[in-house]
């Protein structure tokens, strides 16, 4: 963690922690997933002054809550877009695509100004802003984002809250 000499003084530690939170929370690392919140600082190393700029680099060890979906995990997500090929949903920062191959066969795509997947009797409907419970079957973790493929073609998966009826 690099710190400007401006912040040196009594509050050095607080400033370091504040900057760490600002820089790290909400980011995504390929190795660990999304950093949701920093829960504690384990230790702060000795500062290393950088020649010329006066910046000081501290090695910091911290604990944090991370979010990294795994294959087989069950997640709850909000539908963002519905089309002929399936739908996209978001679980926090993670984007998930559910293909129409992985939507139960009795649900059919209905076009219109509010595209949706509906069962033949109309009792269950997936449209934008619906909340669904889905299972992750594939993940792709990049440096800055995570993308998943999900399925709702399994027991106990599907709509958990319908905005139209709520």
């Amino acid at each position: 963690m690099q710190l400007h000499p401006l912040h040196f003084g009594r509050n050095l530690r607080e400033n370091l922690v504040a900057k760490l939170m600002k820089d790290v929370e909400g980011t995504c690392s390929g190795q660990h997933g999304f950093v949701v919140a920093i829960t504690g600082i384990e230790n702060i190393g000795k500062g290393l002054i950088c020649d010329g700029t006066g910046f000081v680099t501290f090695a910091m060890k911290y604990q944090c809550v991370v979010f990294r979906p795994f294959k087989g995990e069950i997640l709850e997500a909000v539908v963002t877009m519905v089309n002929k090929m399936g739908f996209f949903a978001e679980a926090g920062p993670v984007q998930i695509f559910v293909s129409n191959h992985l939507i139960p066969d009795d649900m059919e795509f209905q076009s219109g100004d509010m595209p949706n997947y509906t069962t033949s009797d109309g009792s269950v409907k997936i449209q934008k802003d619906s909340e669904v419970r889905l299972k992750i079957i594939g993940t792709r973790v990049d440096a800055t984002e995570i993308f998943c493929i999900g399925t709702i073609k399994d027991d106990f998966l599907g709509v958990i809250n319908d905005p139209a009826t709520a």
């Binding site: 294959k71 877009m81 089309n83 002929k84 090929m85 399936g86 996209f88 695509f97 293909s99 191959h101 992985l102 059919e108 795509f109 076009s111 100004d113 595209p115 992750i136 079957i137 594939g138 993940t139 792709r140 993308f147 998943c148 493929i149």
Partner: protein, 449 residues
Amino acid sequence: MSLAESPVHSSSSDDFTGFLERALGSGSSHSSPDEEADYESDDGSERSTKRRKVENLGSIGKTHGSTSQVFVEENSEASPKKVICTHPGSVKDLCIVCGQRVDEKSGVPLGYIHKDFWLNNDEIDRVRSTDIKKSLHLKKLYLVLDLDHTLLNSTHLNHMTAEEEYLHSQTDSLQDVSNGSLFRVDVMHMMTKLRPFVRKFLKEASEMFEMYIYTMGERAYALEMAKLLDPRKEYFGDRVISRDDGTQKHQKGLDVVLGHESAALILDDTENAWTKHKDNLILMERYHFFRSSCHQFGFHCKSLSELKSDESEPEGALATVLEVLKRIHNMFFYESKDNLIDRDVRQVLKTLRKEILKGCKIVFSRVFPSKFQAENHQLWKMAEQLGATCSTELDPSVTHVVSTDAGTEKSRWAVKEKKFLVHPQWIEASNYMWLKQAEDKFPVKQTKT
């Protein structure tokens, strides 16, 4: 497997053994169970289905060992089928069905749905064929709309002339775009004028068609314009295709449109963009509102903006084409006797076009360059598409002489024989208006020589 050695002996076991041996082939009776397991797994499914049948027939002589063996075999047979996934499409290199990493991309990119969204050709065919059944059931066809010069006209703010400055004070607010028609889109540094009638056009067309926007503009521009045309996202949804999403440079193609070609119509002002889909295309008269746009196409007259006028709302190009679309829709669904799924909108379009100049026999005079093969000229082809017959020779059956010069021999013949003498624009106008135009509106002037 020799059942004679099996621990369970019942009265019927001898018969059953014989049956089994016949079914399994005589050689197996002396082999040990282990050997036979190898033998069987090599030998495919036919044998084990027989074995299962045998089990169903009589479970009396069955040993515990054989049950578990068959069970294992069944598993090994079924599992390869599950693992093989055809990878019908991928998002960000992940297969949309099995979630596995797919390295080679194949098929068509559908960047307008999600960046890095790819679908196989087979999958596209599947989506199209399931979708068309649904669309036809709802009595809907597909309509692909161009933006610039078809639905609207945009100009860069820097390209506006002094005479157009007054427009700045007349722009409509971006807060409520549903009624305005002139907008200043500052993020794009653009001034945009929607074509008159476009609101009503979209509303009525949306009842007959599933609509796509397909523009040669950039993605950001396309989305901005879609916001102006369709603020509630009720017409286009995510079906906004831009230059970045096409599969070929400087070409538009229906390959990225998830609708069957036999049910898709295109409205565009540029014929050359759709070389592969000319039969689906309804050519539009270009809408030039701004000065810069006129200039770009080589017109040096005053633009509509400078004249402070605009295209007529009830008689403009969009109103005309809406009528045509209605007729096509009507013919497609109600007047054709073919099976619904076999109908082709291209055929309907062709038939309808042929009605326009039906019964006209046209002779051209001094329209084509003298050495030009007349049959290949654009006007000749256009006239034939409109249902007219073209000829190079004068005879009494000729109804129209098309000429740019009233002084030619053929033109004078037309006047003498009381045939219509019209300017080539008559054909073009009829083509755009989808109606035979009054001949007297297109007189031929005597050129002074």
